[in-house]
Every structure is written in structure tokens, then in C-alpha cells.
Amino acid sequence: MKRIVQEALLVAVAGIALSFAANALSPHGLKLTTNYFPAKKSTQPSAGATNVNPASSNAVADLTPSERLAAALKENGLQLADSNLVLRLLHDPRYEQQLVVFIDARSEEHYKEGHIPGAFQFDHFHFEKYIPTLMPVCQGAEQIVVYCDGGDCELSQHAAMFLRDSFAVPAQKLYVYGGGINEWNANHLPVEIGERKSGQIKAPAP
């Protein structure tokens, strides 16, 4: 038994060392010292949180996801965009001048499967890849709408906070589209496939 424990320890130590090396070499690897969630956490836990205070759990359960998101955003100085505002901004003449900008906070794979036409991609876990393109756009924009899947997805919030805290994008410019791409698709709105401005526009089947 002693040999098995020794073997397990050796596997664990060598495995952990190799794992960090693999992360460092991987193009998808995380930067260990980067704080990907810079804002203070919401005092209203999500439904799945393990540290739910029983006294407040009923109040949390009574809130709609949209209200919960609005409260969390307000606490972090961000604004919630509903589908009406998003549609208005998409048809705003400023959209063509990049004074209104949409940012898709999902992974590259999901972005290429379909995004709001003209939206930039920003996976904040690999920010160094996107920031050179995105920063000049954000600096020139008047309104920036960040979205992800919607529902329980928090990527859009975190990406917005990351832009605010790490790249000094003013909070008053930042909106989070709570419904996200799922609501967009549910409303049968067109999506762009592949790269930004690929010209492949697809309208979801009704």
C-alpha cells in the first residue's frame, strides 16, 4: 500500500507540473495572474450558488432573471439593454459609423455559428487576441452593447466589467443585452455567420 501511495504522490506532483506547462503552451491557456472577474461580486447570489442564504433565497427566487440581472448590473455601474433598445441601436444610423458597437462575449466557436450582424468578438479570457482591434473601436464608440447567450450566461457582464476595469472603457457607455443571442434568435432576427462582415447573413427559421 505504501508503494501505491508513493506512486499516487509522484503522479500527482508530476501531473500538476505538466498540467501547468500544458496550459502555458496551449493557445487556449489562461493567464494565471489575470483577474477575469474584476468587479465585486453581486450580493444577490445566483440560483445555483452553494452559499445561498436561506433567508434571502425566497426573495431571489421571486425575482425574474431579467430583474436579477438588472440588479447585478446596477450594482456594478452597468446598464441593462432589452430587446427594444438593442433593435433601436441596431437600426441607429450611428451603428454604421461604429458609434454604436455590438460585442459578442462568447467563444470563437459560438461566435462563428452566428452573431448579431456586425458584432465584434471579445472572449475576455483571451483578451490579448481581441484588444488591438477592439480598443480603438471602444474608444470611438458612444454606446457599446455586450451580449452572450442570455439567461444564466454571465460572460457579457464579465466582459463589460473587464473592459471597464482593465481597459478604462467608461461604464456609462456599456450596456449588457440580457436576452442575448438566444432571445435574438427567438425573435427570428438575422445572424451573421463566420467572421465579422462576412456577408453571410442567415435568418433563423420561424
Binding site: R3, I4, E7, L30, E109
Partner: protein, 211 residues
Amino acid sequence: MNPNQEAIVSDNGRREEAEGRGQRAEVRGQGTEGRGQRAGDRGQRSEGGGRSWLRCWEEILAVPARWLLGGAFIYMGLVKALNPGAFLELVREYHIVNNSLILNSIAAALPWFEVICGLLLVAGVAVRGTAVVTLGMLVPFTVTVLRRALTIASVQKLAFCAVKFDCGCGNGPQFICKKLVENSALILLSCWLIFSASRYFCAHFELFKRD
């Protein structure tokens, strides 16, 4: 003599060297009964035939068990390693740690660690030690997932088995009861491999030489 070459004392007392992997038998004064005997030795046995037959099958079945456990770890690890950002979000949801360095380290290293353990099991390297490590991961993961599911069931007023969420295990959103059955099966496979002596298709069954 390498660890896989151990002396065999056969019935007539001649000392022979067993060549190759798995040809190990314990040194005994009489007969060649012992752990790790090969199926080919069966004819030499004079007692315990039923037990040896069972052991033989156990050792054969341990191979697919090892590959299954290893394959599961490789798959689950790779899914997370290819999208560590999403895994980081899911780990954060557990509210186990708040320190970003620790959180990032878990999300960065754990998926690759699972892949490495899976590869070791599939290749048959340090099998028992690796099985201890996989057991050491599976048990706390399962307890943590169970606790979260209980919380969700309580907050959302759902029946336990109706709880469905992405536990960060690599399979996307899953019903909790299915997940617990899967994890229990993997825990049993790990336990089996810790106690199994099967050396079939093992590149290097154990790292340390026997005393």
C-alpha cells in the same frame, strides 16, 4: 532484473527468470499459485482452480475498465482544456475560492491533469497510483456537485432528479441523478483498478520496485 522480471520457483525447484511483462508469480515453496499468474499457467495448478479462473477474468476485464476510466478522463479533460474560460466560469459558480490566482490555477491545470491521468491509465503506467489520484478527484467532485444540486433543488423548489445544470464536468448541462450514477461508476472503476493486479497491455504497471 527489472520490476517485471521476478524469480519463479517452479515445482521441481529450478529457478527460472520470467521474461516480459505480467509473467510474475510469487515465490512459493510449493506450486505456482499467486497473484498475477497468466492464463497459460493454469495447467500447472493443483488447487484453487475456480479462484484462479475468476482472477483470470478479473484481470482481463480490468483492461477495458482501465481504458474506459482513462478514456472518460481524457474526454472530459480535453473538453475543458480547449475552452478553459468556460470552465473557469463554472468553477467560479461553486464559490469555493474567491482568490483569482487560485481560481485561474484550478481552471488552467485541472483539465490537463485529467487528460494526463487518463493517458496514464490508457497506457497502463503507474496504474494503481493513478487510480488513487482519480479516486481522489472523483470523490470530492461528486460531493461538491451533490451539494450544489441540493441547493438548486431547494432554491428552485425542484425534485432532486429534475435538477439539471452544467457541473463543469465536461458533458454540458446534465440531470443530476444521471451525473451521480456516472460518477459512482467511475469511482467504482477507480477502486477496482487500485486493487486489481492486471498487467495486460500495461506499459509500466508500477513505478516502484517491490521490496
